[in-house]
């Protein structure tokens, strides 16, 4: 751990912010075209964020501010741990459990700040968000557990590297097809995309956790959302789609995966929160367990099986 690590970490944050915000902007266009609209300019997302940061804001007490800072701080720390095309600012710390639980610090901060606003819509939104998390995370964690058992490693970069050099069929999504499907469905839930977006349902619970934010707090939430998206897509990309050997490959794959998620989301209606739980605990959970048993007892998928 030296000074350079922190400098690299800071650069990673900047790069990720620019990349993901651009991608979000482009995807707003994609969504618009799906809905037969013209859509905003690709850099509209940047304008939104900087405008929010410049405006006046209101605060509902110290926990409202503290939670926002803790959320963004936790999420940024997580971004620094994400390996991008084999590069890590802090080598060796890309343990999958560390990343997925450090992500929870950010989420807890956000939940805390939202509930601290005193608005019941926010609390309802947080309750739904946590329920949603319980729904998608259990099947996903079982699949990740299977990967750790199969490859004897819980490092994101190692698992990504193991899939490279064998062409497309070397990706875990094809070696373990059921697990890959579960991961993609879980990613929809993680990103809060339709059909699993009931916790931010704007027309129903007034955007849930976001209801009281304005000005710089809202700007923080926008930035946080970009970072969180990057973390979630990157985890799935590294674990199931082979990460990327070069940074360009990584960015291309990333853009395709993220846009794919967005397109699915664009044509979906919304699940109620209990329906989402029921759904995840029927199909994806069963698939994850079957995949786990296949890998543990037959070893299929650890070695290439075709």
């Amino acid at each position: 751990m030296n000074v350079m690590s922190f400098v690299y970490g800071f650069l990673v944050l900047l790069g990720v912010f620019v990349f993901q915000t651009t991608l979000t902007g482009l995807n707003r266009k994609v969504t618009a075209r799906l809905q037969k609209r013209y859509g905003a300019r690709w850099y509209q997302q940047f304008l939104d964020i900087f405008k929010a940061l410049r405006k006046d804001s209101t605060s509902h007490g110290w926990v409202f501010d503290f939670g926002v800072i803790m959320a963004l701080g936790g999420i940024m720390a997580t971004v620094i741990f994400i390996p991008v095309a084999g590069f890590e600012a802090f080598p060796g710390l890309d343990n999958i459990f560390v990343i997925s639980y450090l992500l929870a610090v950010g989420m807890l901060g956000m939940a805390m700040s939202a509930a601290g606003s005193g608005n019941p819509w926010a609390s309802i939104g947080v309750a739904r968000a946590l329920t949603n998390m319980l729904a998608y995370d259990v099947p996903l964690m079982i699949v990740i557990f299977t990967l750790i058992f199969a490859f004897d490693s819980s490092s994101l970069s190692e698992i990504a590297a193991l899939q490279q050099g064998m062409g497309i069929l070397g990706w875990n999504a094809f070696r373990m097809p059921l697990g890959g499907i579960v991961a993609v469905i879980a990613l929809l839930g993680m990103l809060g995309k339709k059909p699993f977006d009931s916790f931010i349902a704007p027309t129903e619970i007034a955007s849930g956790p976001m209801v009281e934010y304005g000005g710089k707090h809202l700007g923080f939430m926008f930035i946080l959302h970009e970072f969180m998206t990057f973390i979630e897509v990157s985890i799935i990309l590294s674990l199931f789609f082979g990460g990327g050997a070069t940074i360009w490959e990584y960015m291309l794959k990333y853009a395709v995966l993220y846009t794919f998620m967005n397109i699915i989301s664009g044509v979906m209606p919304r699940f109620k929160i209990d329906q989402a739980v029921k759904y995840f605990y029927r199909v994806p959970l069963a698939m994850a367990i079957v995949q786990g048993l296949v890998v543990i007892f037959t070893g299929l998928g650890v070695t290439l099986w075709f």
């Binding site: 940024m76 608005n119 209990d274």
Partner: protein, 606 residues
């Protein structure tokens, strides 16, 4: 320091505190602080004499590393909680007996962990059970102590049976030798009956019913001890049943699941069920203390699974989770007690927005739940990480699924008191409430600091655990300077903490350089154009996870099943009574004769 002195002083001070409390309630309460702190310091200094053996009267003791480790955790919970005692004396019905029992049960736990033979262990164990039964009675409900006692008694009797059975084979009560020579069916019987008291104490399904009853209804100053301390006695029995009773060797010829003999795997599966049941039940509690009690059930499951793994990684995780859960759960219970001290209730729907009145208590609760939910940079993360890595190494898919479910479910239930009690709208009634005094704040702050330290420098605790692992003959977990290395993973908790601090600093700087925000009142929120002037109505706290709870509200309730069984037993008793003890003596004689003849015939046939 000598163990005899520690035990003698605490027992004597227990008696003294009873009489002093008669004279001055507060002084009696302070005496428990002094006595428990004395025991804590004494035990800490005892590390030098590990390996020593001695006897007092009929009791024989052996100072072992694992005993020292357990006793230290236990007395930590006792001594930290004791700071609350002086302030609750006025609310207690029998303050004298409370203080007496408090110190007596502490002495009992210390003696139990250092016992050399099973008779000593059993006597001290029963001292704890009895004295804590009487303390629980002083709380909200008498019935709670019945439930506690019945469950404890089932466990204790089963364990006594196991000890006797082992004695009949080996002819000794000494812990390290008593189980020698057992094999076959007798070994299985001894194993399951011996561990029963441990399961009952940790609150493993189906014995978990006593935790919500006892933790939820015990005096607010005793719940932290119950959850942070006494539950860990069960973990000690679980530890003995895989080490002193070499379960892995004795059952090595049996059917194995993922490399683990079936009897042990069965208990691990019970641990997994406890995690799921505890999590689901905690999510739907309306009382903050009951919620934390069910979370202890879930965490007990992790501890049991970890200890029973008896390997390099998972075992270390289970042992470390003992400390982390003890510290976090004692802190959480103390925070709830502090709130109850000011508001007089633990029901989540009757409070809100306490953060604006009690900010320090809020921070204490926040750190405690971060640790309990296993989120870095607190201690709970490291121990859960070790358990996950251990399970992943062995490929125990179903146990891991339960562990993940409990881990993510814990975000749900720990957030609930945070949101309902501390965040949201402050009730009009509580607008003038103050933070608790410094003396009550002190133990909470110490526990908070310990939670963070355990998460940033986990190797301090893990070094002790490596010694325990070496003493029971398994390879210790690999530790470098600041890092933990396992077969399939690598964790540097200190660097994770530093990077988290780095991210937090950047966020803080961005926040500070932007324009200062305008402070507005909590009631000044978006309400969809409704006019709401009642604070209480603008607070979302009861039935927090209603859509999720609905999914399993028809699930069978264990307590209801037990109640039905109790009713049936009562009816059987009534039937017997009506047959034998009617108004007419000749009827009694008739039935006694019929039964007698029946018994003789059956006896003859058999």
């Amino acid at each position: 320091m000598n163990l005899t002195i520690i035990l003698a002083v605490t027992v004597v001070l227990a008696v003294v505190s009873f009489f002093i409390t008669r004279l001055n309630k507060k002084a009696g309460g302070f005496l428990t602080v002094i006595a428990s702190l004395f025991a804590f310091v004494g035990l800490f200094l005892l590390k030098g004499s590990i390996g020593g053996e001695f006897s007092i009267f009929y009791f024989s003791f052996k100072i072992t590393m694992v005993g020292w480790y357990f006793a230290l955790i236990m007395v930590l919970a006792y001594s930290m909680t004791s700071f609350f005692n002086p302030f609750w004396m006025d609310k207690m019905m029998y303050p004298g007996s409370y203080n007496f029992m408090y110190l007596l049960s502490m002495a009992g736990t210390i003696g139990m962990f250092f016992a050399k033979d099973f008779i000593t262990l059993f006597i001290f164990w029963e001292t704890v059970v009895w004295s804590s039964t009487f303390i629980i009675q002083l709380g909200k409900s008498r019935k709670a102590s019945y439930v506690y006692y019945v469950v404890s008694a089932i466990g204790s009797m089963a364990t006594l049976f196991a000890i006797m059975m082992a004695y009949s084979v080996s002819g000794t009560f000494v812990i390290s030798e008593a189980f020698a020579g057992l094999s076959g069916g007798a070994a299985i019987a001894v194993f399951f009956t011996f561990i029963l008291s441990g399961l009952a104490k940790i609150g493993i399904f189906p014995f978990h019913v006593w935790l919500p009853a006892a933790h939820g209804n015990a005096p607010h100053t005793f719940s932290p001890v119950l959850s942070g301390g006494l539950v860990k006695m069960g973990a000690f029995i679980a530890f003995l049943s895989v080490t002193a009773f070499p379960a892995y060797e004795i059952f090595s010829g049996m059917f194995k699941v993922m490399g683990t003999p079936f009897p042990i795997y069965f208990l691990m599966a019970l641990g997994a069920i406890s995690i799921i049941v505890g999590t689901l039940m905690a999510i739907k509690q309306e009382d903050a203390k009951k919620l934390l009690a069910y979370s202890s059930v879930a965490n007990g499951g992790y501890i049991l699974i970890g200890i029973l793994m008896l390997d390099q990684v998972g075992f270390a995780g289970g042992m470390m989770h003992l400390v982390n859960h003890a510290v976090a759960s004692a802190a959480a219970f103390l925070a709830i007690a502090a709130v109850a001290y000011r508001t007089g209730t633990t029901k989540m729907s009757e409070m809100g927005g306490m953060i604006h009145r009690m900010p320090v208590t809020y921070i204490v609760y926040l750190v405690a739940i971060i640790s309990m939910a296993g989120i870095p940079p607190m201690g709970g993360f490291v121990s859960k990480w070790l358990i996950f890595q251990g399970l992943a190494d062995k490929g125990m898919l179903f146990l891991a699924a339960a562990a993940f479910f409990g881990s993510i479910g814990s975000f749900m239930y720990v957030f609930r008191p945070l949101s309902a009690v501390f965040l949201g709208q402050t009730f009009t009634r509580d607008l003038k409430k103050k933070e608790v005094g410094f003396f009550m704040m002190l133990p909470m702050l110490i526990l908070t600091a310990l939670s963070i330290l355990a998460g940033v420098f986990p190797n301090t605790i893990l070094r002790v655990i490596t010694e325990i692992q070496a003493s029971v003959g398994i390879s210790p977990v690999t530790l470098a300077e600041n890092t933990i290395v396992t077969v399939n993973g690598y964790l540097d908790a200190f660097r994770v903490f530093i990077v988290f601090g780095f991210g937090f600093t950047i966020a803080f700087v961005i926040f500070i350089v932007r324009r200062k925000s305008k402070k507005v009142e909590l009631m000044d929120t978006y309400t969809s154009a409704e006019f709401i002037h009642t604070r209480e109505l603008l607070h979302y706290s009861s039935k927090f996870y209603a859509p999720f709870e609905r999914l399993y509200d028809k699930a069978p309730d264990t307590m209801k099943l037990y109640k039905k069984i109790a009713v049936k037993i009562g009816e059987l008793g009534n039937l017997t009574e009506s047959l034998f003890y009617g108004h007419k003596p000749e009827k009694t004689v008739f039935w006694v004769m019929i039964t007698g003849i029946f018994v003789v015939i059956i006896g003859g046939v058999v």
